[in-house]
């Protein structure tokens, strides 16, 4: 198609634009999550992530030092003065307006002076310095309340990740997920590769039936298995353990694994396997020394599938693992956080990103194999 003469440039632009639109639609949600997870938690809760590069207007309420506190008041000439900065308690930005009562929190512009009922004069500068001035010494146990409107610069921070990894248990869940995922990826591959070889190249009665059975089992919904297996596990005392979930994931992943690997192994040149047989290799040796190395692409693509599937699984983990610190996996933790911290977006976004970071990295690094596996599995 590249070389066909007379293609319309307008059409090509339309194609480019449509693809840009699609890509934006498909990446924006994740991008928003990523940006949000790095934002200051106070900003995150008051403004959309798309405004994160512009300053945020925020209303602060600060209390000046109480006049009765030691050292709070100074005498400057004829006046008694209390000074300070509205950002003493944290934060930064430019003050645009201030007020002295909650009725009208932005009554005065910076530079103006507000006169209180008792004659005290209050002024706030743009940098947040305030000054309360009175002719007599001021009294009172509580300091004057100041309402300021602040234009905050964008704040990005790693605090959310720090919180999530250290105190919300995501770090622990990360290890738990890893403990589930790695054996639950390798064991089915090993078992499926041996079975795939047997179904492809060994002769024995019942082979056709087994192949049909494997194909049929690919679509069995795993919901089906939950209750019987849960009862079985309780009966034989496996209970909620890692071994239990490894085997469960192995069982659920096995039909597709066997099917994919058998098809691949069957596609290897017959002569190579016969040649090894003439060379005196047994089936085990042929499998280990010839078939396994040659099947690497298929093994890799299934490994990625299974890895993503197990890492991202919630259902099987909820059913076969406990809800305790030692066993809660990341998806389970995320679900818990959605329930208990539903409004705390700084926690949710960071946790979600921690949980999707590994699969995303695997995805981008090994996409080639993933695509190959998908194609082997579904295009005839």
């Amino acid at each position: 198609m590249e070389g066909i003469a007379g293609r319309k440039p307008a059409l090509i632009w339309a194609v480019h634009l449509s693809v840009v639109l699609l890509v934006v639609l498909w990446t924006l949600p994740t991008f928003g999550l990523l940006v949000s997870s790095f934002r200051d938690k106070d900003q995150l809760s008051v403004s959309g992530w798309w405004t994160s590069l512009t300053s945020t207007e925020r209303n602060l309420v600060v209390r000046a030092p109480a006049p009765d506190d030691k050292g709070a008041q100074r005498q400057e000439g004829a006046f008694h003065v209390i000074t300070g900065n509205v950002f003493d308690g944290g934060g930064a930005g430019a003050v645009s307006a201030f007020g002295v009562s909650s009725q009208d929190p932005s009554a005065f512009a910076v530079g103006e002076t507000a006169v209180l009922k008792d004659g005290e004069r209050v002024s706030v500068t743009e940098t947040g310095d305030f000054r309360i001035e009175a002719d007599q010494p001021m009294t009172g146990k509580r300091g004057q309340r100041l309402f300021v409107t602040v234009l905050e610069p964008p704040l990005f921070t790693l605090d959310n990740y720090r919180t999530v990894l250290l105190s919300e248990g995501i770090g622990r869940s990360f290890i738990n997920t890893l403990t589930v995922t790695i054996p639950a990826t390798i064991i089915p591959i090993l078992i499926a590769a041996f079975a795939g070889y047997a179904l492809a190249w060994m002769r024995f009665p019942g082979r056709t039936f087994l192949v049909a059975m494997v194909v049929g089992l690919i679509v069995v919904p795993l919901q089906m298995s939950l209750i019987p297996l849960l009862r079985l596990y309780t009966d034989i005392g496996i209970g909620k353990s890692y071994v239990g979930i490894w085997l469960a994931h192995t069982g659920f992943g096995l039909p597709l694994a066997i099917y994919l690997l058998r098809n691949y192994i069957k596609g290897l040149p017959k002569e190579i396997i016969e040649s090894a047989r003439v060379d005196g290799a047994s089936d085990f040796e042929i499998f280990v020394k010839i078939v396994l190395p040659l099947s690497f692409p298929a093994l890799a693509s299934f490994a990625i599938f299974q890895f993503l599937w197990v890492w991202n699984d919630l259902l099987v983990a909820t059913v076969f693992l406990g809800n305790n610190e030692e066993q809660l996996v990341m998806t389970g933790r995320l679900r818990e956080l959605l329930g208990s911290r539903g409004g705390n977006w700084e926690i949710l976004t960071a946790s979600a990103f921690v949980s999707i970071a590994v699969p995303l990295a695997v995805f981008f690094a090994l996409q080639r194999y993933l695509v190959r596996g998908l194609l082997a599995g579904s295009v005839k």
Partner: protein, 363 residues
Amino acid sequence: MSSVSLKEVGKSYGRVEVLRGINLEIETGELIVFVGPSGCGKSTLLRMIAGLETITAGDLSIDDERMNDVPPAQRGIAMVFQTYALYPHMSVRDNMAFGMKIAKKPKAEIEAAVSKAARILQLEPYLDRLPKALSGGQRQRVAIGRAIVRDPKVFLFDEPLSNLDAALRVATRIEIAHLKESMPDSTMIYVTHDQVEAMTLADRIVVLNGGNIEQVGAPLELYENPRNVFVAQFIGSPAMNLLDATVTATGTQTTVGRADGPAVVVPIASQASDQARPVRLGVRPEDLVLTEAEDALIEAEVDLVEALGETTVLYLKGANGGAGTIAKLPGIHPVKKGTRVRLKADPAKLHLFDEAGISFRHR
């Protein structure tokens, strides 16, 4: 001593019989070629000798030991496949050493065998390459090297040259011939559908057709004295012409009369019972020569001329079962399409076949 012996060997896939009643004695040190059209069962027979297919009838012995149930590795054979079947993930060296490693031979012995084979096949510079970094001819040499390393009693080749281009095919063929000379004690069985390979390489040729052996013999014996119509037409190119005729006189010589030509006296014996029997008179295109004589064997109109320089091939209308007679004349002849030509042949080079297709010489 007979190296490989087949007795009443047959093969069926379920109810489909692809080989039947194969009897063959192959001598030690012989290079025997199985030749025949595609699908006739050559590969199947070879793979049965190798142990890659089960033998469903008869007996196979190698060095007088019954081999029907012996696994391939223990038969003392090595096989070279058409597609080379090199292990793509192993270097040339590892490919050649694989069999000995499986057999747990000592390292030094493996090393010695591999370098010897590499030397014979001039593969030394490539020992550490992967097969994908080799040309087709080199790959085929590695496959042969792998067989040599196994030091087998019998080499089996299944169309080893079919995947090579024409020039390489000739070169590798010559190389195999040299290889055979350098290993006079090895028996080789070579499968091909190409008669040139068969004629040039073989000590003896086995012509297979439809699951049967048609004839076994030295290359020129098959050429000069084919047992039947199939062999006669399969060996030689273009194929032998067959002219319809009827026996008119019998004895030590046979006279046949023809509808489209004069009677011919052929120096082949026949019996009285052959009198009036319909036969086919065979004459090879290269045995025909132009003549002016009135009683020429063939007189016909030229349909097509192929002037190749070295030879001139004439396609004549009629005769030869209606397909048209072919004549292959040495050198250049200024014959035009549409002219009538007369051709004769040395009677000693004629063949006679009965209705069943069997040659009179073989009855």
